[in-house]
Amino acid sequence: MENVLVAATIMAGLGFSLAGLLALAHRFLHVEEDPRLDEAEARLPGSNCGACGEPGCRAFAEKLIAGEAAPSGCTVSSPDAIEGLAAFLGVDPGQAEKNVARLHCGGGLAQAHQIAEYVGQSNCRAAHVVGGGGKGCSWGCLGLADCEVSCDFGAIHMNSNGLPVVDVALCTACGDCVDACPRDLFTIEPLAHALVVQCAAPLEGDAARAVCSAACDACGKCALDAAPGLIEMRDGLPHIDYSAGGPASPEATLRCPTGSIRWVPAGQFEEERDRLAKDSMTLSSPPAGGFHV
């Protein structure tokens, strides 16, 4: 009995003395934190997506308080939330360019030629490992929805043509789909950059058309029709340089024989959706939220 009492007394003594140490440390080693930090973090969405370029929402809040970032740097928050945050911090909300994920492939089930049947795990990475599904094009979308799975915001849905449709209203440009795609078909682009090349195959002419009816055949008409310097043909594909060239316009896309370069003011594959709707085909997974922006 005595032993137990001794042990209990020692443990209690240890506990109290260590607690005392902690109390002292709290008093003398206290780090003064901006009281606005917690409030600012609470006003952020808390998804820790990384689209702002910071490792998480708290890091972004720190940047906000330090004045190194503007509230609009958070692409996930609604305009109202950003206004509120700016008012709370007493800063200008700033102007952020709306960025979205763009898919550089237009070869869905209806366009890309199938040369084999893929049987195996139903994800893009697995198909990519064994040679890339059944499509004849070895650069195009595999259509097994790795991007849809990776999207934390539910902004990507596969359409009935087997291509991922990005809902520009929901897309926060976090870049998860860019990492998820084994064929690197997604890039993050400003929404204002409406010229989108929907092909990644470096093939030219008949070789390109032999694998997909929506493939860029490198005819170069878009480069000729666009403002000088805007579009450059390189490795069988048009490359658009908004910094060097003049203003972009839909002109460049008008003579494209395969429709591989598109003028996309909002979401991709809208015509596709309209056409499918007209044909009264049912979408396997109807895009949520629509394409309004």
């Binding site: 040369i115 084999a116 990475r125 697995a126 040679g131 890339g132 070895s138 084994p182 093939l203 694998v211």
Partner: protein
């Protein structure tokens, strides 16, 4: 490890062999076809660089593309004819990759020019390595890694033992078996050239016990050479993997992530030895190889000597074509081979077999949950824990898989073979590895 007198490594599996179909068939030479496609990147390392132009006439064995850097090799024409184009062609894995297309000259006799022997004893190590590279020789076991890279001597880690791989542990394949039976002299000649030039005192040839005729032929050919030891091994998969073979023959383990040279070993396939012998004695570059065409759906199973670059469709036609029920053609063995997406793809330097299967043999049995029975752990020759890796792979915890040494997996497939719940273990691991590599790049 010794087991009833025969040696082997620990773990591994023993799939049904299916070798009776072709093991007794003598190699035949395939007739020339009108068109050949030589892929520039058919070996490990950097793709070769073309040195010919469309319209140019080439003769059999002429250089088509030169090596680009040290880890790369040359490419030669398998036929006399005309370069038709430098364009893209289908790789057996379906991707469209740069290739040189050769149209065979229908009026050519396709004879070899006069043999131009090179005396290996006159070459120092650098010249020897350069010569092997200029002959386009790659490891013929399947991975097609440029052979000369292994022959470069390093002063701090000299190769003490030459290990020749005659295991052929993959089911169905019999090309190495036939090479040893029919060309044992050439194999031994290649071994001697290599051992002499690299001053290797010991040679171990590992052959599985299910090929007694190959063991006998090799023993006969190597008679009187004190250096060469022919060892018969227990029949087990994946014994043909470098590290497993070293373990079986020398009892030594190569550390994870290191090369066989770490234990002073240099591993080569029997087919590579024939290529070396032909290169030095006859001046012939690597332009053909033995391919086993087998499987339940091939009209006439064969062991064919096929010019590299022959479209697979033509090879299969030579072997009586495929029957109507064929659903899949596999290039390589059934354990590690690649299902072909297009039969337009050509035979590569690393193509050991072409196997055709019907739907009934491809149907995947229903997958059940893991029983934690541990058969995959017992099967894994790399001593990993496939069960744990699968559990992590299914929830995409790839970084934790890396800590569980997933990168040491050689994807032999023993775990998938052993799994009673039909879990596609190696397939999940391959996806995870690909994902990890993708993350590293970005």
């Amino acid at each position: 490890m010794s087991f009833f007198g025969a040696r082997s490594f620990r773990h591994g599996v023993h799939p049904e062999e299916h070798k009776d179909q072709t093991a007794h068939l003598e190699t035949e030479r395939m007739a020339f076809v009108p068109r050949y496609e030589l892929l520039l990147g058919q070996h490990g390392g950097k793709p070769s660089v073309p040195v010919v132009h469309p319209g140019q006439k080439v003769v059999r064995g002429q250089l088509l593309a030169r090596a680009d850097g040290f880890v790369s090799t040359s490419l030669h024409s398998p036929v006399s004819g005309t370069v038709r184009s430098l364009d893209r062609c289908r790789h057996p894995n379906g991707s469209l990759v740069p290739a040189i297309e050769i149209e065979a000259d229908p009026f050519s006799a396709q004879t070899w020019p006069e043999p131009k022997p090179t005396d290996p004893s006159t070459l120092d190590n650098d010249q020897f390595v350069e010569f092997v590279q200029s002959m386009g020789i790659v490891g013929m076991g399947g991975a097609a890694f440029p052979a000369h890279v292994k022959y470069k001597l390093s002063p701090d880690k000299p190769a003490q033992k030459l290990i020749i791989n005659g295991c052929e542990c993959e089911p169905y394949l019999t090309c190495d078996h036939r090479v040893m039976v029919e060309f044992a002299e050439r194999v031994v000649r290649g071994i001697r050239i290599l051992a002499d030039n690299l001053r290797i005192p010991e040679v171990h040839v590992g052959i599985e016990k299910n090929k007694p005729d190959a063991v006998a032929a090799m023993r006969e050919a190597a008679r009187g050479d004190e250096r060469i030891r022919i060892v018969d091994l227990v029949v087990k998969y994946p014994q043909g993997a470098e590290k497993m073979l070293i373990k079986a023959l020398l009892g030594e383990e190569v550390p994870a992530g290191r090369l066989p040279l770490e234990v002073g070993a240099l591993v080569n396939n029997v087919g590579t030895m024939v290529a070396i012998a032909d290169a030095f004695d006859l001046g012939r570059p690597l332009v053909e190889r033995v391919v086993t065409i087998a499987g339940p759906n091939v009209g006439r199973p064969s062991n064919l000597i096929v010019p590299i670059g022959t479209p697979v469709r033509d090879v299969l036609d030579t072997c009586g074509g495929l029957n109507a029920e064929t659903r899949e053609v596999v290039m390589g063995g059934p354990m590690m081979g690649q299902p072909m997406i297009s039969l337009d793809a050509p035979v590569l330097k690393g193509t050991s077999g072409l196997l055709a299967f019907p739907q009934t043999q491809l149907d995947r049995a229903a997958e059940y949950t893991c029983l934690k029975c541990g058969r995959c752990v017992e099967a894994c020759p790399a001593f990993l824990n496939p069960s744990k890796l699968v559990r992590l792979a299914k929830v995409r915890r790839y970084e934790e898989m890396e800590q569980a040494y997933v990168m040491d997996c050689m994807e032999c497939g023993s775990c998938s073979y052993a799994c009673p719940s039909n879990i596609p273990i190696v397939q999940l691991i391959r996806v995870s590895k690909s994902s990890l590599r993708g993350k590293k790049r970005g």
